[in-house]
Structure formats: C-alpha cells, structure tokens
Subunit: 337 residues, 2 copies
C-alpha cells in the first residue's frame, strides 16, 4: 500500500508564512514564463448558478517534480448553515511515477496564495513609495491581501477598507483587521486602518487598490481614478464577474497571471468583450514582468492593472512549500492509502 502525507488546516497555519508564500508564487509566475510549467484545462460546473459551483484547477510544475489538482467548491447557502462558503482540497502527485504524495486542505493555501498574488501585482506595478492601500471587499480573502501587501510594499502607511454592500460591515472590519493580522498571522505594524465612507474619495486618494469580491458589476468608476493608481483585481475568476469600470483598461498597462484565463474569465474579460482593448494590448503575464523581459510601469502617472484570475501553479507551489516545511518540522500525518 501507498503512504501519503496529509496536511490539515492546523498544520498549514503552523507551516506557511506569507513572506515565503510571496516568493513561492513569484517563482511559479517565473517558471510559467520560462515554459517550465503546464496548466491543464480548468473544469467548471455550476450546480445552481450564483448559488453553488465548483472548479478543478490542475497543472504540472516540472522544476518541483509534481503535478496535481485543487478542487474548490463554493456554496453560497452555507452561510445559513453556519458553514464555510468555500472548501478547497488539493492532491499532489510525483511526476516521475504518477504516485499520489499528499492530500492538503486548500482553504488556507488558497487564502495565502491569493493574497500573495494581489501583493505581487502591487510590488511590481505600483508606484515606488506607494503610501496608501484601498482594500475593496471584506470577505475571507481580504486579510490575506492586506497582510501580503503590507509585507511586499513596506512603504504603505494607510490601509482603507471598504465593503461595497454594507457601511456597517466596512466599519466593523476596519476596527478589527489590526487584531486579525496580529492574532492570526502574528503580524504587527504601525499602519493606520480606516473605514471608507466615500468610495469615490477613497479611490482618488489611494496608490494601490485591491479588489476581492464576487461582484458582477463595476464598483469603481473611471472618473474617480487618479493617475498613478495601481489595481490588483483578484475577484473575477469566472465569466460575467467584474469589479472595476472596463473603461479603466483603455489607458492602463495591463498584466495578467494567465492570458487565456484572464481573457475568458478574468477582470479583462469585459474590457475585451466590449472592445475597450484587444488581447494584443495586454502587456503580458506577470512572470515576464518579474524577469524584466517586459517593462510594466514606466512613469508615476501610469495606471496599472494586475488581473489575477488564480492559477493552479500558485496552489501547487504553495502546497509543495508546505510539504517541504512540514517535513522539516515533522508536522502532518502519514496515512496508508
């Protein structure tokens, strides 16, 4: 019988640190740009449109000698059942033998790698010395975006938070995010946290804007955006989702994680469908920017967008990182399969 490793949520929280996950996700982007990875076609199924769906993302990370998959299910009605809306499960396999190596809870990994992605967008595309971050969305992912961006862009002094649906939730989140970062991630900083009252004003006064919502219509209009702003859009990951005004794309420098996914299911989808931009207007993928093969921002007045749709390679590399660290720390269990 086979032995496979199981890393549960608790072990993953003990194992993964955001600074390492940021480097791992950067490496995944770089390996993709160097054609040392494969993304397999995504499987997507809606059990009930807008209410319950699942997707399977899979791929091959040659340098790490693994391939694998992550199944994520999203069941909106779980809220009433007091259950998490999202479940993620990952399987990792050895690419020399095809043998299953590990089962991982992917909930925490998804948060970490999604946070890292938004932050990498800001690190490589935002203005030097960006001082202010606007976080749009106060769901589960927001804490990971804020944590990662504060680590990747240490010049930030102010974080504004905004829940587009509820003034009350905006205020609550602003009052508790400092403690979340401290208690969940052991992260402390002097940064100032503020609840957004006037979103138009907040957009006009932020250097970096991260959007992480399930929105299907633009929450940020072009007129509000000042020159020099950077957007990391991480919420759009299926057809029909949209977070920012598609007209912002017209004058922006746009970088994506994966061109195919961005054009089909990302924030870029609407801008292309409405002929605001063409696929050839995209600067390229993030790995090329990190490698310096493509120039991103060239002036403090550029508006930049990173469209992060989320790719299997982020999950695979973060899972591998967790497996290696768990091995070192002797965490996780082995089971006979």
């Amino acid at each position: 019988m086979l032995d496979i490793k199981v890393l549960n949520q608790e072990v993953l929280k003990e194992t993964l640190e955001m600074k390492d996950v940021i480097l791992a996700v950067e490496k995944a982007y770089i390996l993709k740009a160097q054609n040392r990875t494969e993304l397999f076609p995504m499987v997507f199924h809606e059990f009930n449109p807008g209410v319950a769906d699942m997707d399977i993302k899979s791929g091959h990370l040659k340098d790490e000698s693994i391939f694998g998959l992550k199944l994520v299910s999203w069941f909106g009605e779980n809220k009433e059942k007091n259950l998490p809306l999202l479940f993620g499960t990952t399987l990792i396999f050895d690419d020399k033998t095809g043998m299953p190596l590990a089962l991982l809870n992917a909930d925490y990994i998804t948060g970490m790698r999604t946070g890292a992605a938004g932050a990498i967008g800001a690190k490589y595309l935002a203005k030097k010395n960006s001082k202010s971050l606007l976080m749009v969305g106060t769901g589960h992912v927001a804490q990971f975006e804020i944590l990662a961006t504060l680590i990747a862009v240490p010049s930030i002094e102010k974080v504004r938070v905004y829940n587009p649906r509820s003034e009350e939730r905006t205020a609550t989140y602003a009052s508790k995010i400092k403690n979340i970062l401290k208690n969940s991630f052991n992260f402390e900083s002097d940064v100032e946290f503020e609840a957004v009252r006037d979103i138009k004003d907040a957009v006009s006064n932020s250097d970096i804007i991260i959007t992480a919502t399930p929105s299907r219509e633009p929450m940020i209009l072009k007129d509000w955006v000042k020159p020099g702003t950077h957007f990391s859009c991480v919420g759009s990951d299926m057809e029909g989702k949209q977070e920012i005004d598609e007209n912002i794309f017209l004058d922006a420098k746009v970088v994506v994680d994966d061109i195919t996914q961005a054009v089909n299911v990302g924030e870029t989808e609407t801008a292309i469908k409405k002929n605001i931009i063409k696929e050839s207007d995209l600067l390229g993928e993030m790995g090329e920017i990190i490698l310096g093969n493509i120039k991103g921002r060239t002036s403090d007045n550029d508006i930049t967008i990173f469209d992060s749709t989320g790719i299997a390679l982020q999950d695979l590399i973060t899972s591998k990182l967790a497996l290696d660290l768990a091995e070192k720390k002797n965490l996780g269990i082995s089971i006979k399969l």
Copy 2:
C-alpha cells in the same frame, strides 16, 4: 476542522463485492439515461506520449448527493522500477454543502468498476445462454473482467485467455487465473480455462469477447468473427487506441457508455473517423438498453458491441457503495482535514 473518511486499498478489498459493484454500475448507467447525473469535461495530459499520462474524470451523481473526481496516472516506465503502472485517487464531496467527504484509493475501484462494465455489456447484449468467453489482454484488469462476466453471465462454461504480445504470458495467465479468482475474490467455479494458441480460431468459437489492452491497432479481424458474437471493448479510452477491426462496426449493433467519450476516445472513434459508421448509427447508451427504452440484440445472429470508455459515474457510485458499506462495517479511518 473537517473530518474526512479515508478508504485505503485494504479496506476496499474487504468491502466491495463484484455482484454489488455490477448492480451499482448498472444503476449509474440508468441514472445517466434519466438525466440525473452530470459528467464534467475530462482533463487529459500526456507527460510523455505513450510513456506517461494522467486524466481527471469528474461528475455529479444527484441521487447519491455526491460529486467528485478520480485522477488516474499511468506511467509505463514504472515496470522497471517495480512499481504499479497505474495509480488512481478519488475525492468525494457532498453536493449540498461542497464539503469534502472522503479520499479513496481508486486502483481497486477502477478494476472492479471496469470489470463490471465489460460484464454488463455481455449481460445485456450477448446471446442468451452464451457458453464461451474470450478474454483478450492479461493485464491487471483481466481478472476483474473474467470475475464479473462469470457472475453476470452464469451460463459460461469456458474462458479462453489471450495475451496478444506473448504466447508465454498467455499460458502463464491461463494456468493461474483460477487461483487468482479464488485467492483474491474468494470465487470458485467449474468453468474451464484455456490458453489461446490460435486467436483466429478462438474468436470464431467464442460467444463473448472482452478486450482490455492498451492496443493502438486491431487485434481481431472482421473475417474471424462469427454471427452472434458480442464484444465488450474496454481498453480504448484515449484518441488513437483501437482493439478490434473497425469494419466489425459496419454490421454490428453498437451501444456505448457515453456517446461523446465513445466517439472521441473510445473503440468507436476509428470506425467513425474512417466513415464505417456515423454517430447516428449507434444504438445509444447502455442505460437506455437496461431500461428497455432501446432494443439491443434482436437475433442470435446479431453482432453486438459495447464500447466502454469508462465514465466518472462508475467511480462515483462504486466509491459511494464502498463508503456506505465501510460505514456499516466500521472500516476505514477518519482524519482531520
């Protein structure tokens, strides 16, 4: 944290009996015919064509309230490493909450459900009182095909076995299959087992022929086939694979497990590509035959073919059966994920 159930190879061998798996797979075919299932698109990737590949089959079984996936990897060079060539891993999820329920070793399940499929083809399409079975292929799957067919078609008196590549392996397999059935499955019968020396002669004298090989060219020619023969072709599951002469399709009644898969990757693929038959010449899917909505064989002279490509629903229903039985027998372990 989540609790999920793990059923390993050992537990599955203690839990699953072929007679139950046959009924379960029949039920999966019926539910598919009644539109109470969903098959999600298959993911297929070749790491090295003909040497190493993997596929992910997934779907939704509404009546059992589960959805899930199976990843199967096939690494031909494992032979030299003394490792199994095939590894299968299944994840099952609750379709009301999206929560992961179970991790199963899918190696044994794959053998059982594939054996059941070939046997169901024979049960519903072969002549009444079929006396002889020819098993083409002596790999891992052959024992499951023989076991299942002896259970589903109890009139069989003689089983011929044939390895198309090696006379020696044909002889070895014929001499040990009775013991395999006894030792691995506790199955005993008076049936006679015989090694094939002349394949042409064996084909002409068999009522039921099951092919389960990785062949890419026909091993059985049309001229050898007598009226009344039934074929269950279970080996072809990807583009380019073929086991029997495509001309056999011309006068045969053809039933498939899934029309899309059969036409694209099954035994049916070549017959259609070479314009021997059209998709509309297929009688339909097996569930329609079992339900009696479509007539299969109508005369003892008909030649019938069941093209079993293997569908996720077989795996899901067999996994669910194993989970229910393990629950009853208090087998398997629970882990915190």
